[in-house]
Subunit: 346 residues, 4 copies
Amino acid sequence: MYSLRDDYSEGGCPAVMSALSAAAGEQNITYGEDAHCEAAAAKILALCGDPDAEVAFLNGGTQTNLLVISALLRPYESAIAAATGHINVHETGAIEATGHKVCTIPAPEGKLTPELIESVVSAHTDEHMVKPRLVYISDSTELGTVYTKDELAAIRGCCLEHGLYLYLDGARLGAAMTCAENDMELSDIAALTDVFYIGGTKNGALFGEALVMRCPELRRDFRYMVKQRGALTAKGFALGVQFEALFDGGKDSLWFALAAHENEAASRIAAAAAESGYGFTARPQTNQLFVAMPDARAKELSAVFPFHAMGSLPGGRTVARLVTSWAIPVSATDEICAWFSSHPAR
Amino acid sequence: MYSLRDDYSEGGCPAVMSALSAAAGEQNITYGEDAHCEAAAAKILALCGDPDAEVAFLNGGTQTNLLVISALLRPYESAIAAATGHINVHETGAIEATGHKVCTIPAPEGKLTPELIESVVSAHTDEHMVKPRLVYISDSTELGTVYTKDELAAIRGCCLEHGLYLYLDGARLGAAMTCAENDMELSDIAALTDVFYIGGTKNGALFGEALVMRCPELRRDFRYMVKQRGALTAKGFALGVQFEALFDGGKDSLWFALAAHENEAASRIAAAAAESGYGFTARPQTNQLFVAMPDARAKELSAVFPFHAMGSLPGGRTVARLVTSWAIPVSATDEICAWFSSHPAR
Amino acid sequence: MYSLRDDYSEGGCPAVMSALSAAAGEQNITYGEDAHCEAAAAKILALCGDPDAEVAFLNGGTQTNLLVISALLRPYESAIAAATGHINVHETGAIEATGHKVCTIPAPEGKLTPELIESVVSAHTDEHMVKPRLVYISDSTELGTVYTKDELAAIRGCCLEHGLYLYLDGARLGAAMTCAENDMELSDIAALTDVFYIGGTKNGALFGEALVMRCPELRRDFRYMVKQRGALTAKGFALGVQFEALFDGGKDSLWFALAAHENEAASRIAAAAAESGYGFTARPQTNQLFVAMPDARAKELSAVFPFHAMGSLPGGRTVARLVTSWAIPVSATDEICAWFSSHPAR
Amino acid sequence: MYSLRDDYSEGGCPAVMSALSAAAGEQNITYGEDAHCEAAAAKILALCGDPDAEVAFLNGGTQTNLLVISALLRPYESAIAAATGHINVHETGAIEATGHKVCTIPAPEGKLTPELIESVVSAHTDEHMVKPRLVYISDSTELGTVYTKDELAAIRGCCLEHGLYLYLDGARLGAAMTCAENDMELSDIAALTDVFYIGGTKNGALFGEALVMRCPELRRDFRYMVKQRGALTAKGFALGVQFEALFDGGKDSLWFALAAHENEAASRIAAAAAESGYGFTARPQTNQLFVAMPDARAKELSAVFPFHAMGSLPGGRTVARLVTSWAIPVSATDEICAWFSSHPAR
């Protein structure tokens, strides 16, 4: 039995774990003001092409999302998100708990567009309504899809026109940046957003996300915000150590390689499923596959390769979300592909 | 140069790091619903003598404090704390950020008493004022002092009389429970409080605290609270793994041994300082020492053993906070003692 | 020019203003603990048929909504509302500012049903999502429609089944209870909800709403909540004085008569518009009419009878919201009807 | 029996009530965008000597305080207040409910000084603590004392030096500005603060406060803040009408006359009490007197002139707070003076 439930069922990758062990005996400055964090930030900013930006290392995605959004907005301002956006659906109202409304809109393939953003903006006209002030997107999205550079640039233009911050949730940015259809580098992401984060938890770290902050309003006193939300890690050096390991090598860094590996596995599985007649409810682009399966087939698959069912479709079908991780052995991918080949859709 | 700044400048202790590395390749259920968390909780609850309690593993102290307090209080209710309490001074208003006032009162040695608690309660008489509903204490305190069983029982009685929850912040509970003057076991702490946490970050873990929840109101839907505050760790099994290692052995567990070691070091340093004529602004009981030093002496000490100065005293003196950690080598303790012997107070 | 913009452009009705002036020289107990508030509450509770309920007099609707919802919910719990619900659209995120998400669903005619409520409940399955705990409805709705007794009873049954509080926003309850299709009395509203409010601001008061609280969880310490949100009126007796005047006469009270008057005016206008070929985007039932008008006609109307346009329809049409108030003179109604008769839809 | 409990036991003064009644039949623009609010604001700004400032009319003091403070502060910033400050003691944690800590310091006579402010500022050094950003003072204070122009200017200088906003709570500003020791005009208050409010509720209005906002950061989108907190009054014109009546006459306006009247009454009572041997726990300067009375005498007084006891003093004494209002008849003042003359302190 091999789990396809998510991409964070394993601990850190070997390089990360070794680095953590090696550093465990050192005395480091606490709360992220140590040499490891400094070095890791420098590596990341070099890839981002913006040495003036700042990096904050945080423990997890929901924490990062609520920090960024509550730091940037005044009390009556809101975030715009796709209806499928993580902040809308799967964070137990974390943004609202900081006082802010999330204005949502159904978005095909989980991706916002200038038109969708503008339709939200134009519906908010006066002080009886919240004032949209930030656009939240995720890349890859909650449906495994990715933005192209043109799409992101168009969103950016829309944000600039309407005075909106653009924040990109990169929990699975590695998967986005190493997929076949990717046409961006980290420096593009940095140039086209105000703030984004580079996901570690879902790409080889034991825990941790690297928040890249370009806009000065966010950087001002950001550590106060982090502390206040209980998110300032005492042994912050442990975050620096991990990101040093993940970004030791510029464009050849482990962080890219791990993501490429999981995408490759997913791509093979998607091909096998397609060949056996299965369809997808979202275009397979990265390491999350949404496969439409007859209920009986879904049950069979889950007995050997457990996954999360994401709802039902007409005609007695289940949407199976299959997620590959940096840790998936080639042998497991082989077996999953073989299962699909021997279990046709009909 | 050896740092006495705090007890969280090192990573996890060897047993913790080994356990983390060993588990890194496993696939575990996420968000703390895995076998490691279950096993660690069982070990802890056995020591607490309350199998019906529940344990939640969290990343850090401020996060734990704000979660417990905001989960237990209705919007207009407040927490009572010593003026020196961590939630009052050093958490950047984390409790207030969840909407609740902290009612403070100066407390000798950083310890609350029934009299102090009652003076706060009696000052809050009607709906124009907040309603105190929870007492926050820390053990060992922010001044390194500890509560005796009688003192804790008296506070508990006071809380029951006035309908107040009692919450004990155990960031340094290990130090409290292994100091010379301790007369409690974990089962006493559990029996005399509604909720408390067992600090890991400051006692050998890479990160993590174990919150022991006895009161049912807190347990109800607590995971919703955790998720909403961005505190539900994706790879929660990493917390379970660490606490399994720290509590593998009942009353002989590593968690006790590590704390005993740091207390022993502090005790030797305190004796050396006292012999050389230094006084203390708080009674030396655990691994935090508050030594009154002539400014020049403080400067000399900080050049070889850096520490945090905690303010000034009349007569040109500095309060030096010297903290020993689980990782302090005996040789370092020897050197610090030697320094004090060769640098008399006057 | 006579304004049809809303039903709160005038001050208090003559009886209310006289009562306020008469009481202005008295010395009364402050903060709503006076004899006027007590008498007004007794009159209201007699009509509600529940002497054990409690009444709180508050200044306005948004304030009342945020108080009720934030008093009843734990931090991770949410309110369910129609997408058109006032708390979702027109309160600048007031509910979110207290930390709670509003889970919305498109609702025909602005009215929730058990099916709609259940579709929201069933989509929230675990601690990664908020937990719906309260249903918010308004009667009459933001579209001027009303609930029948059967519809409200069905919603109540659904709420009881799913452990949801039912809260009815009665900003325009007077209009609902005096319209032609009404089949409820105040005692029905009380029996079928946990809490509701009787709107004064939009029905003859200078300011004020009477919140009728049946559920004990809400009543507990509610005054603390009110004070904390800045909503405890110093001269609370001014609210009691007004509601005494409005409810002096049981079922023949002024509050009913004023609403009946405004409904009668709206009903005549609706008939005139319909006769001239105009359609409505929501069924005309109370004092808010949503008339679909060719843009040019809308412009003509607004020059003599200003109103708020509520968006555009295909084919160059405007949705004109026409609102009648307790104060509308019969002569004004006559003139508006005459306008429609002389300005056919096409 | 005549109540000395407070200065808001009566309704509005005759001129206010007449104006409200006269305007009740008009149709006005809602939410404070009407001609009455505009006219009242112009009158107030003329007295303030700052035509570029803006006025917002709000319902009550706690509401005003929480709005101003939460609009000016980022989440981790705090307000500095005297320990006796209304926001610290008597608002049920209203400021904390918006997420902000109130940093308090004991202040002689309830008045802050640059030294006291600086002692708070200097204790907050890094991101582990909140960042003080606003100074809250009240004038007259909760103890009835007043600031001189020099004192206020010194505080202003201190605020400018440390980057702190200065906010003056003028719930009883009328009493301050018409007392014997006053040396300021409204234009001085305006020039020396960033924002302050002119209390109406405690000085002749039925309800209402006029917030004078000079700093642009506060004015930006302030109406959004007001609406979000449930404080945007639907019939906002009722506030404008009242302040038109109170400020119709420049420096000879009713608002000054009413306050002068209540001060005059208090002054006579204070003199009578002093002559009979009573002492005061705060210097009698305005319409609030804090008289130290033997418990028995306090009981006798309360039987004929009810008041609020503000605690006990050694030697069996009660602190009686005696408050005169704009409405106190000269005959009542005569009787109270007579009582003191016939009931000596010992």
